[in-house]
């Protein structure tokens, strides 16, 4: 069974930038771990350390119980990465791209050719696609890269922002591919699309400013924040005597109230009475993320009978 484990992983770059601060988490089995965070949060740094491209400053990391910091060469057969902003090589065809990569992994030419065809089919691409990578659409290019690493025989796959910059349709297609694959692989993917983590992930790691704020399933994260309903109010936040929950000021002057089921019921009634436009939902990963990463503007708690 695949496993990944790191403890107090920290990275300070040569210039002095502390990109990771004591990251600790572990996971066993197949599935998708999604690391979410804003730009500059430290996602790439973490992925590059785990895929043995970068040395950490301190801490330990194990994949399948192999110490990947001391003995990276022992794990490289088992892992493969699509780095952030990687592109299939412009002057190769998708098949040629995969064949060459597989040969770097030690396979012979003809075996690589067979594997390339299978891998392209796995990501629903025509295995004889007779075009060079340069002219392919952004979505197809990413699929070629995913096929490239899938064909390698590695069971632990790192994907650093695989869907950034894709149009919604291509993104959905790639999500379908990944959802189909996750029973056979341990995939660690980073994203800043919260919807992506919500659609794919078995475990979500929220990283901000180099710190891992949470590492849990989405349900586990929901429980952590004690509110499970969210009300979004457009325009100015209504003056209420009191409320039970947490108010977050969003962009474009929208307000969001995180509250419990009862609070959401009571607030809904008030808003309807006052004619305030609002929407209410079960809390989403996006809400959890903002709750953890953004500074809320107010937090008040009152007794329930004061509503």
């Amino acid at each position: 069974m695949e496993s990944i484990k790191c403890k107090n992983l920290s990275k300070t770059y040569h210039g002095g930038k502390k990109a990771l601060k004591k990251i600790t988490f572990s996971f066993k089995g197949n599935g998708i771990i999604s690391i979410i965070g804003k730009n500059g949060a430290g996602k790439t740094t973490l992925i590059r350390i785990l895929s043995t491209e970068l040395m950490p400053t301190s801490g330990s990391a194990y994949i399948n119980d192999i110490d990947i910091i001391k003995t990276p060469e022992l794990i490289r057969e088992k892992i493969a990465i699509v780095p952030q902003e990687a592109r299939p090589i412009h002057w190769l065809s998708p098949k040629q791209n995969i064949i060459s990569y597989l040969m770097y992994r030690g396979y012979g030419f003809f075996e690589s050719m067979e594997k390339a065809k299978t891998a392209l089919k796995k990501v629903s691409l025509n295995s004889n696609l007779n075009k060079i990578n340069r002219v392919l659409s952004g979505g197809t290019k990413r699929k070629v890269l995913v096929a490239t690493v899938l064909s390698s025989g590695a069971k632990i796959i790192f994907l650093d922002e695989p869907t950034t910059g894709l149009d919604p349709i291509s993104r959905n297609e790639l999500w379908d591919v990944l959802n189909k694959l996750k029973k056979d692989y341990l995939i660690i993917l980073t994203t800043h699309y919260l919807e992506e983590a919500e659609r794919l992930a078995d475990k979500v790691g929220i990283i901000d400013n180099g710190k891992l704020l949470a590492f849990d399933s989405i349900d586990g994260l929901r429980k952590k924040i004690k509110y499970n309903y969210s009300l979004k109010v457009q325009g100015d936040f209504p003056k209420l005597k009191s409320y039970h929950g947490k108010v977050i000021k969003g962009i474009d002057n929208n307000y969001q109230i995180l509250t419990n089921e009862e609070g959401s019921y009571i607030l809904s009634k008030i808003f309807i009475k006052k004619g305030i436009r609002f929407s209410t939902n079960q809390i989403s990963l996006e809400d959890i993320f903002y709750y953890m990463v953004k500074k809320p503007i107010t937090e008040e708690r009152v007794e329930e009978d004061e509503w």
Partner: protein, 247 residues
């Protein structure tokens, strides 16, 4: 060498030369054209007298540009496609990756080397020993330029910049120094400038071996020593400077 390592070396050759030539045949014409066009000019201007020297010069220049080409290719593959990052976390070692890429530059030049070799057979009439010295010098020049290319690729992160560099250095090493002609054509004070380029030594060895240039035995020996020392220095600097797993 086991089969796995051989496959890993072939991977670099496929990416950087065989598939590139297959998908873009125009690239071939381009590699043929540069050394040949200078050769033609030299032959016309000298009314045929420098044909032999010109063929030797074109071979040296081919080795120089093949090796220097590594720098642009490596940074292109590393920075624009993240190939190196993908390979670092694979079972391929740094040495095998670089070695394969080095060979790929040579493979890319096979057509022009073949053509020039045919010209050499037709017009140079060399003895076996002269062929051997010529081939050794070409290999040393290639080792020199491939190390230089590798070294430069560790300095630049921008492809446009490194392609600019490539052109500049290639010119400085192979068309400005007396590679296509004899050093005696250069007025005395300027000869010292020519000696700043390692290719001058390589050309002197080849030209004197094949009877176009008269130099003393001491001079001949010095040429070898300087060429080999410079090559080794650059080779070891580039190995030391290269980064695989970053820290």
């Amino acid at each position: 060498m086991n089969g796995k390592k051989l496959n890993q070396i072939i991977a670099s050759i496929l990416i950087n030369s065989i598939y590139a030539m297959k998908n873009y045949p125009i690239l071939l014409i381009n590699t043929l054209l540069a050394p040949l066009s200078i050769l033609v000019i030299i032959v016309f201007i000298s009314r045929g007298a420098l044909l032999g020297v010109g063929i030797e010069g074109a071979l040296i220049m081919t080795m120089i540009s093949a090796g220097i080409g590594l720098q642009g290719d490596l940074s292109h593959l590393k920075n624009d496609f993240k190939l190196q990052d993908m390979v670092v976390s694979s079972p391929t070692s740094a040495f095998i990756y670089m070695f394969g890429m080095g060979i790929s530059e040579l493979v890319f030049s096979i057509p022009v080397i073949l053509l020039l070799s045919i010209l050499a057979v037709l017009f140079l009439h060399l003895l076996v020993i002269q062929w051997i010295i010529l081939i050794i010098i070409l290999l040393v020049v290639f080792l020199f330029s491939i190390s230089l290319g590798f070294f430069l690729s560790t300095l630049t992160t921008d492809v446009m910049q490194s392609w600019g560099f490539t052109g500049l250095i290639s010119t400085l090493l192979s068309t400005v120094p007396p590679v296509y002609y004899l050093i005696t054509y250069i007025p005395k004070p300027f000869q010292y400038i020519a000696y700043l380029s390692p290719t001058t030594y390589a050309a002197e060895i080849v030209q004197s071996t094949t009877g176009y240039l008269k130099i003393t035995q001491l001079n001949f020996l010095l040429d070898w020593i300087i060429l080999i020392i410079v090559t080794l220095i650059i080779f070891f600097i580039s190995i030391k400077k290269s980064k695989w797993r970053e820290d």
